[in-house]
């Protein structure tokens, strides 16, 4: 069993009587990259702020490397590097002065370490320029350099891809993976799944302040169930026949073809794949002309979208 770096238990936050975060629990083990997903306004940032002691939770606890953040912030935050939202540094100071500033807030960080993190984020050329002259990508890198200063065990990046161009995003991904390989444990939040899907080992999807789903990609997809795509020459008849079995649910119907007679249709259904042979036999016997049957696995993206969208509507 790997060591638990971050443990969040029953975390809730009410602001002005409104529940922003509701009973959120998850864990992060050493060497993991955790994707923290959710649409804007789902409570992601509030949760992250509670992780790093910017906001006091109404109830629940956050423990980092065995130290409770709320009661022993000095002990707990020692192991954390973080960028909450934008990487805002002091614009009137140089990158180097910014790093020196944050280095002074923690023990055991010397000039050599500052130089080291500067080269990790490849900012050597511009480190003595004022931060206000930096591009967003450079600020992001400086932010990461700052987060890495204290040799953290956990790195928290809140929306790290915000405002970056595709090239920057790609670089960041490579960089994050590289950090993980060096044994760092990361929590990366995003409202866009595609940006972190390839990066993360596990996901926590948060919606409306609650954990909507959690697990690895396989676990998440399996939990979503299988989908089968049918194609009928006569959509109306085919689908009516298909749905006579109560174990089959229609998810989506797409009509196509010549509309003069009865139009052809595609039907996306949720059903277990064991049912396919007997259903084909049943439909063939019923005279339905089947043009195609195929198994469809939803991407995590689709799942994420349906999960978060449906709940928005509900």
């Amino acid at each position: 069993m790997q060591e638990t770096v971050l443990s969040v238990q029953n975390l809730s936050k009410k602001i002005n009587g409104k529940t922003i975060v509701d009973d959120v629990s998850f864990e992060l083990r050493a060497g993991e990259i955790l994707g923290f997903l959710g649409p804007n306004g789902a409570g992601k940032t509030t949760t992250i702020r509670m992780l790093v002691d910017l906001i006091k939770p109404t109830s629940g606890t956050v423990t980092i490397c065995g130290k409770p953040v709320q009661r022993e912030p000095e002990q707990a935050l020692r192991h954390v590097g973080s960028i909450v939202e934008n990487p805002e540094m002091y614009g009137y100071m140089t990158g180097w002065q910014n790093l020196e500033h944050f280095a002074r807030m923690q023990d055991g960080i010397d000039e050599a370490r500052i130089r080291e993190v500067t080269s990790i984020v490849k900012l050597q050329d511009r480190i003595h320029d004022k931060v206000k002259t930096y591009s967003l990508g450079m600020r992001q890198r400086l932010g990461i350099a700052q987060a890495l200063l204290g040799r953290p065990k956990l790195l928290i990046l809140d929306e790290p891809t915000n405002g970056l161009d595709p090239k920057g995003i790609k670089e960041l991904r490579t960089f994050i993976r590289q950090l993980a390989q060096e044994g760092l444990c990361l929590l990366v939040s995003s409202h866009l799944l595609s940006e972190v899907q390839l990066l993360c080992d596990r996901f926590v999807i948060i919606h409306g302040g609650k954990v909507a789903a959690a697990g690895t990609v396989e676990q998440l997809i399996r939990s979503a169930g299988n989908q089968v795509l049918w194609q009928f020459e006569h959509g109306e008849d085919g689908i009516r026949e298909l749905l006579k079995d109560s174990r089959i649910q229609l998810i989506e119907r797409i009509d196509y073809g010549d509309a003069a007679a009865q139009p052809a249709a595609k039907a996306v259904t949720a059903m277990s794949e064991e049912l396919i042979p007997e259903t084909v036999a049943r439909l063939a016997a019923g005279g339905v002309r089947i043009h195609g049957v195929c198994k469809a696995e939803p991407t995590l993206e689709e799942m994420f979208l349906t999960m978060t969208e449906s709940e928005t509507i509900a």
Partner: protein, 328 residues
């Protein structure tokens, strides 16, 4: 403890690199020559018209007496004028020139006039965004996620502010002396100045009046100036903690200070105004015996009122800063 020093260094360097202090030095470099020139004009004018300072002082007394005979002037104000007459007479009787022009004398006058408005403004220019600035820029999120207790960060900010308050007063005194000394001469350290006037009703109790060398008077003034400025700085810190926007926190403090100086110049009959902090800022006035804005105010009273304000705002600042959520 070493960590606290490093934190103070952080805050002091931030203020330094924001070039706030430079701005203050520039303001002083522009304003002091202006005032020096005005004073020089006045001294020159007096030299042309009067044989020596005694005649000038006597004329001053006669002028005040003439204003006293006017019915248009409110009684409260006359009381202050009568006190001024008594003091001027006291100077004459003891053959001490109340305003022998010199670099030190100019500095003394400048400090006495700057304590209510000018120096507080300078202090606010340095410190009014010390917390709200970090909120506006978002850097507070970096600052508070470091493994340092929040009270230590606020304490470091307060101490850094203290250092700059001291520096501001030092720079004011030094620049005043250097610039005005160029015109009025660099002497005047030993010139006697009377202090210890006690005001009872409309008369001056001269029992405790004694002469002290001007350098000592200047040092006392600067000490009081420092105290008043620290209270302003502490209040500014509180407003900076409470108010999110830098502009709002600056404006709030300035409004409070200007309101105070207006109230004190109105020689208000509203006596409860003496518990407002900004009415109590003119601490140096007690040294040279100018009448207080509201009757019954004394130096210990004002110091006590200011201390209470300072302590209360410190309590509020630390409470809010350590417990508050960083939401923006």
């Amino acid at each position: 403890m070493l960590r606290l020093a490093a934190l103070i260094q952080n805050e002091a360097m931030k203020l330094w690199l924001k070039k706030r202090f430079l701005v203050i030095v520039l303001i002083l470099l522009i304003l002091i020559p202006v005032f020096t020139y005005a004073q020089h004009k006045m001294v020159k004018n007096n030299r042309e018209h009067f044989a020596d300072w005694r005649n000038q002082t006597l004329q001053q007394i006669a002028d005040i007496e003439n204003t006293l005979s006017s019915d248009r002037i409110p009684e409260e104000w006359k009381k202050g004028r009568r006190i001024a007459v008594q003091q001027l007479r006291y100077y004459l009787e003891h053959d001490i020139n109340p305003s022998e022009p010199s670099g030190v004398q100019f500095t003394r006058e400048f400090l006495g006039n700057a304590i209510t408005l000018f120096i507080p403004m300078l202090v606010l220019a340095i410190g009014s965004d010390i917390v709200s600035g970090e909120r506006t820029a978002g850097t507070i999120k970096m600052l508070l996620t470091r493994p340092v207790r929040r009270w230590k960060i606020l304490l470091a900010k307060l101490l850094a502010l203290t250092l700059y308050v001291s520096l501001t007063i030092a720079v004011t005194v030094i620049l005043c002396y250097l610039i005005s000394g160029f015109v009025f001469g660099y002497g005047g350290f030993g010139a006697p100045v009377l202090t210890g006037f006690r005001l009872q009703g409309g008369t001056v109790d001269a029992q405790a009046v004694h002469a002290i060398p001007q350098w000592r008077f200047l040092l006392m003034q600067a000490g009081l100036c420092w105290f008043a400025s620290m209270i302003v700085a502490i209040l500014g810190l509180m407003v900076s903690v409470l108010v999110r926007s830098t502009a709002a926190s600056m404006v709030t403090m300035m409004a409070a200070i200007i309101a105070g100086s207006i109230l004190s110049s109105m020689s208000s009959t509203w006596t409860s105004a003496k518990y407002l902090f900004s009415v109590n800022l003119k601490l140096t006035g007690y040294l040279d015996g100018s009448p207080p804005p509201i009757e019954g105010m004394t130096l210990p009273f004002s110091v006590a009122v200011l201390s209470v304000w300072g302590a209360a705002s410190l309590a509020v600042s630390f409470r809010v800063f350590t417990k508050g959520d960083i939401l923006n």
